[in-house]
Amino acid sequence: MKLRCEQLEMHFFRKTGDANFFVAVAPLSLSLPEAALTVLMGRSGSGKTTLMNMLSGLLRSTSGRVFLGEDELYAMDDRTLSRYRNRHIAVIPQGQSALPQLSVMENVLLPGMIYEKDRRQDAERRREAAEMLEQLGLGALLDVSPRELSGGELRRLSIARALLMHPDVLCCDEPTADLDDENTRVVLDILKKTAGDGCTVFMVTHEEDAVHYADRLYRMQSGQVTEEK
């Protein structure tokens, strides 16, 4: 599904110069096509994470609207939107995001279990999850606690969790930060492949290599977005 925003804008209350608010994202209209990897690059503090959070339904904007297909995200109440996000939008947040009280396997199964009460699919889900973790090189770590994982392994765990949600939109915030070249390539390949499978993939990154993978490329500077490719 196509993800698009109209006049999306974000202010934070903070005294800067004459204004008593700070513009993190200037009014922006954007359309992210499906089956494509869209990359957003920019310096630290330029507003990338803020924009991504707004696009993925995690952060209500100051003004403007976000649509996934025909559905307007922020017109929904929290319950509906949460469920909608669980179904259609996967987010890989910046940093590590595994729950330490659950095993690696349980972590990746968790999103599918929040609303799905049908236990008959458990076996099928587990099989699929095991396959996915195997692909991402975590096959031997299914039952360990995320506490025992390295940074790269944790990142791959987040990716596995997101992909198993079979989302229409996948938003990743610097998924390759602090990964070595080998791991970076693995992750970028997966994202590219996911896009190829029809998903709308949106990636925020510093990684210049990502340029080669991008179907579309945007650059962000002080809340302003410009299209580059």
Binding site: T49, S82, V91, Q94, Q101, L110, I114
Partner: protein, 398 residues
């Protein structure tokens, strides 16, 4: 994972145990305290029922009020006797509806007796104070030498108790009353007289002035409806010499007063424990919110709604309250039960544990209150956590 709450609890055993202990303490205080209050009330009620008489008359040598205490609360009646004639005169006092007498003696800690007990002889034809209780528990008339034992006397049916070298078969055990009647042995007046004879034959001086056949220890009076009890007591005190008539009402009121005081103290303690525990719990839950913000931001990211998030937290506190509550009830019950005797002695008030069904009811009530208060104390933190600003927390890096 369908049991995320359980996993959250088991993953941090230290935190869970600390919170759980607090709840155990809470429910222990509530349950133990309630059982104590109920037991004291039960003791009073049972004492009141046992003391079916309005006026008790004893020889003035018995120093009546202290002996009443002895009789009902501390277990030594001592020896005091008056002539049967006097008893008859007392029974004929104007305004008296029913009268009955009892005769007391005590066995010794000596080779002639199997144990030191209070022996209380009742006149089965006229008795109205102990008889109803005997009927409840035994339901027949006593024969010569037959004895009934109070619930705390260590002798079973079919065994016999030896008193001044006389073997008295135990024919029944009486229901607990929470008073010192529970340590007494009951038989007919004739039996006591027989035992008195046996005692004097063994050379014990029982300080009976006159024939044992011709004495009683106390006269119990029931006053006619509409007649002032005090005036009957006064009349006895004026017209019959060397006896003292005591209103049981004033005695019971005295006990009820001190009971009220004790009860108030217990209630105040319970309330204090609760306020304190509630505040500590709330502080503990709130302190944990900071630590758990990131965890809940992650749950929000993967699509958990605020409501579901709050429910996960609520379930955690419900589970804690359920287990803590049950353990607390068991501990509280066990403590009150095993320290029953000590409590009774320390307070010197009648103490009668409620029956199983009432205990069960108290336990359920305690559990309900604990399971309301536990989640309530976590409500603030649940609300805070469910409102976490996901955007901000994600920016801070998880």
């Amino acid at each position: 994972m369908r049991h995320l709450s359980i996993r959250n609890l088991t993953a941090r055993p230290g935190r869970t145990i600390a919170l759980g202990l607090l709840i155990v303490f809470l429910s222990m205080a509530l349950f133990g305290g309630s059982v104590m209050v109920r037991s004291l009330n039960g003791g009073l009620a049972s004492l009141e029922a046992r003391l079916g008489a309005d006026v008790i008359v004893v020889p003035s040598s018995a120093k009546s009020s202290t002996n009443l205490d002895y009789l009902f609360l501390q277990g030594t009646t001592g020896y005091y006797y008056m002539d049967t004639e006097k008893a008859q005169k007392i029974a004929q006092t104007e305004g008296v509806e029913r009268a009955s007498f009892q005769i007391f003696m005590a066995s010794l800690r000596a080779s002639c007796c199997s144990m030191p007990v209070q022996v209380i002889g009742i006149d089965q034809d006229t008795d109205f104070t102990i008889q109803p209780w005997i009927e409840e528990s035994f339901g027949r008339r006593l024969g010569d030498l037959d004895v009934l034992v109070g619930s705390k006397v260590n002798a079973g049916i079919g065994e016999s108790i030896r008193i001044y070298n006389t073997d008295c078969p135990v024919v029944g055990r009486l229901a607990a009353t929470g008073t010192t009647l529970d340590t007494g042995v009951f038989c007919t007046v004739d039996t006591v007289r027989l035992l008195l004879h046996a005692a004097s034959e063994l050379g014990h001086d029982l300080k009976i002035s006159g024939d044992p056949e011709n004495v009683v220890s106390a006269v119990y009076l029931k006053v006619k409806d509409g007649v002032d009890v005090q005036s009957v007591a006064d009349r006895v005190n004026v017209y019959v010499r060397k006896v003292e008539a005591v209103r049981t009402r004033s005695y019971i009121t005295g006990i009820a007063d001190s009971l009220g005081g004790v009860e108030k103290t217990i209630r105040t303690l319970i309330v204090c424990v609760w306020i304190l525990a509630f505040l500590i719990l709330m502080a503990a839950f709130t302190m944990l919110t900071g630590e758990r913000k990131k965890e809940f931001a992650v749950l929000r990211v993967i699509g958990m709604s605020r409501g579901k998030l709050a429910w996960v937290l609520l379930k955690e506190s419900l589970l804690l309250s359920l287990f803590g509550g049950v353990i607390g009830i068991v501990l509280g019950g066990a403590l009150t039960f095993s320290f029953q005797g000590l409590i009774e002695e320390a307070l010197s008030l009648p103490f009668l544990m409620p029956g199983v069904s009432e205990l069960l009811l108290l336990a359920i009530m305690t559990l309900v209150v604990v399971m309301l208060v536990g989640p309530m104390s976590s409500a603030v933190s649940a609300w805070k956590l469910s409102r976490v600003d996901i955007g901000r927390i994600l920016r801070e890096g998880i």
